[in-house]
Point group: C2
Chain length 397, copies 2
């Protein structure tokens, strides 16, 4: 049984802050600074170049990948870490398209995070083979999986609304229609149980700085189904994905299995922070996280709807159809969020009018949910959001 | 005048070590651990998601890029930091090819670092337009720049021998033949003066973990000549290169200038270490670094040739034709290097028989050069390299 009192003690959260934005950037694990400091001073500082072997830097993308694999229902040896989610989506999509050369449609939905769509556009232009990105509404995805679809590329949890796709059902539907799947797990990994192997997903990618708490700009990960791992095209064929990087061959030969999806030199310092973050996950039962997450989200919805009827729910009401976040609409959403943040309740805003609140049971409990709603009520009661400076649009929200 | 006694005090080098491998991984700057710790504890820990604005994380790829620009002869606003060198080479090459659609040859040389060649192979396969990678010997490059060449892609300094290409002359020759240029500055940035703007280079990329001392796996940088910056194709078109990332548009619109070459979320923790490393470069005169580097390399060559005639010079003898490293050949090169490392003289080995020694005046002086040669003499005299365990090949050298 996961004891969330214990996981909670493993994070450093500032006093007076209720942090409901772990869906954007997870908080600092208590052990991260020491772990990173050790990598700098003892590994880099003392071992210098020898750290690539003696400190295990060279194999870390795979060993850290195995730790993430456990959290997303993937077998050991099927996940590697590195680069950014955008890059990993590009590789996954390129590899998936190469398996389906006779078809030209990449099907996605309007709930996908924009960078996935942008990377697909870039890949389509680079391929120059007349591929087409077809973007439909989330509820229209299933019906749009026709026999022209090469690849179904979706983010499992919608970043704005938290709406959860049925990965197993859509993957089965795609396969039945002769398409492959690429799943973006940005808002899934660490948020809810994912069953990559069981669902039959072909490729997946995710980031580690949201629910996994790896730190700002922490490296991404990529999953390749074992049945594809030795034949998938890396597209971004860098030396770390070569069969023998230190043979310094003139020609590329793809490495074994998922190793081929490695590209350049591993981000050692960032990986140290991620290791500290993954330590918190040791022994955590994802089913228990899911139960607690749904309970927190349900409580938040119940309280907001009872106490703040000005807000309109923008997330699925059924916890089974939702990730680990709840979104509400308010016409002055941006300013309301600024007022909340100033009062220590940190969520975020997505245009045009969405207030997003993420609930991570590892460090958030029912007391924080109640306190956050009370502050929200105060902000609305006093029109505390009606200060001019709350209405200036910041560059980043 | 650059005072190398002062720069030297800004690194932490282990006692008893003479570090001649800064051409592979620079040493730990003394201020890095504190700087990274501050980013973790004060920025990530306290500011949480707000750090993207309040701590400047979002604009760091550009601001750090400007600091590197000064060191490679590039104007402010022409360099951004992120990803790995492999990824940045891919973007540069894709953009260069798109400017020259009628031609199919990518010309490179056997002194290029393999990952550049591998990324080119991957791009060629993805483009599927019949491009061809032509790899000639370094001395044959100039003569091979024919009117079929779309892009000349070279690493300025050969990673094995230190041989230095004439960037200005080869760029002029390429332009005269109607080709564009992509320069890899992995062994140039921080090693010698580079004049990207003056040489007319079209694109360049480099890494920051060698002579710039940014740490293991530190992010790379890319340069786009100002005349191309608003029309270059990003290829890896991620959200951070979008004109308005936080508008969350469904379609990609390339950002202003070099910003379009950004891809995913910036690696904030790694950038903190790199910032500390770049602080050491403040006020350093690259011409003074070059003079000191040539003097150190010349001294090393003179002493080794006088005292260790078993070794054969594998680098250009003329300092003006060499980067900041010296390579020697020995039939038992691998084992000799293991014996040296065990005695505190850290260089590295490249197959089949090359011993590499890098000389970074920021933290290495003539005393270390003399001491290193004395240890080399001891190793050779006593056949100290003749231990069986020195002859096992490590995974990484």
């Amino acid at each position: 049984m996961t004891d969330f009192t214990k996981t909670r003690a493993r994070f450093r959260l500032p006093d007076g802050v209720i942090y409901l934005d772990g869906n954007s950037l997870g908080p600092l694990p208590a052990a991260a600074a020491e772990r990173v400091g050790r990598t700098l001073e003892e590994e880099w500082g003392r071992q210098l170049i020898r750290g690539w072997n003696s400190a295990g830097w060279m194999t870390q993308p795979r060993s850290v990948g195995d730790r993430i694999a456990r959290l997303v229902g993937a077998p050991a040896g099927s996940v590697v870490v590195g680069d950014t989610l955008s890059i990993k989506v590009y590789q996954a999509l390129a590899a998936a398209l190469a398996f389906n050369p006779g078809r030209k449609v990449i099907l996605s939905d309007s709930g996908n995070f924009p960078t996935d769509l942008y990377m697909a556009e870039g890949l389509i232009a680079t391929l120059g083979q007349g591929h087409r990105l077809k973007v439909v509404e989330p509820e229209a995805v299933e019906g749009a999986i026709g026999d022209d679809v090469a690849v179904l590329m979706l983010t499992e949890v919608d970043y704005r609304t938290g709406r959860l796709h049925d990965m197993a059902a859509l993957t089965a539907r795609a396969h039945a229609a002769g398409a492959l799947t690429v799943w973006d797990l940005a808002h899934s990994a660490g948020a809810l149980p994912v069953d990559l192997l069981g669902s039959g997903a072909d490729f997946a990618a995710g980031c580690t700085y949201k629910y996994l708490n790896g730190g700002p700009g922490a490296p991404a990960f990529i999953y390749v189904a074992p049945r594809h791992a030795d034949t998938a095209l890396p597209a971004l064929s860098g030396w770390m994905g070569h069969e023998a990087p230190f043979a310094f061959d003139r020609s590329y030969r793809a490495g074994q299995g998922v190793e081929r999806m490695r590209v350049g030199t591993p981000p050692v310092i960032a990986l140290a922070a991620l290791e500290a973050a993954l330590d918190v996950w040791d022994g955590v039962d994802m089913a228990a996280v899911r139960r607690a997450s749904i309970a927190l989200c349900d409580l938040f919805i119940t309280l907001v709807e009872a106490e703040c009827p000005e807000l309109e729910l923008a997330s699925p009401r059924d916890g089974a159809c939702r990730g680990s976040q709840v979104s509400f609409r308010h016409p002055q959403g941006y300013a309301v969020m600024q007022a909340l943040i100033d009062r220590g309740v940190i969520g975020d805003f997505r245009a045009p009018d969405v207030l997003r609140f993420g609930f991570a049971p590892l460090y958030i409990g029912a007391d924080e949910v109640r306190a956050a709603v009370a502050v929200l009520r105060q902000v609305l009661d006093g029109r505390l959001w009606d200060r001019p400076d709350y209405h200036r649009k910041a560059a980043v929200t």
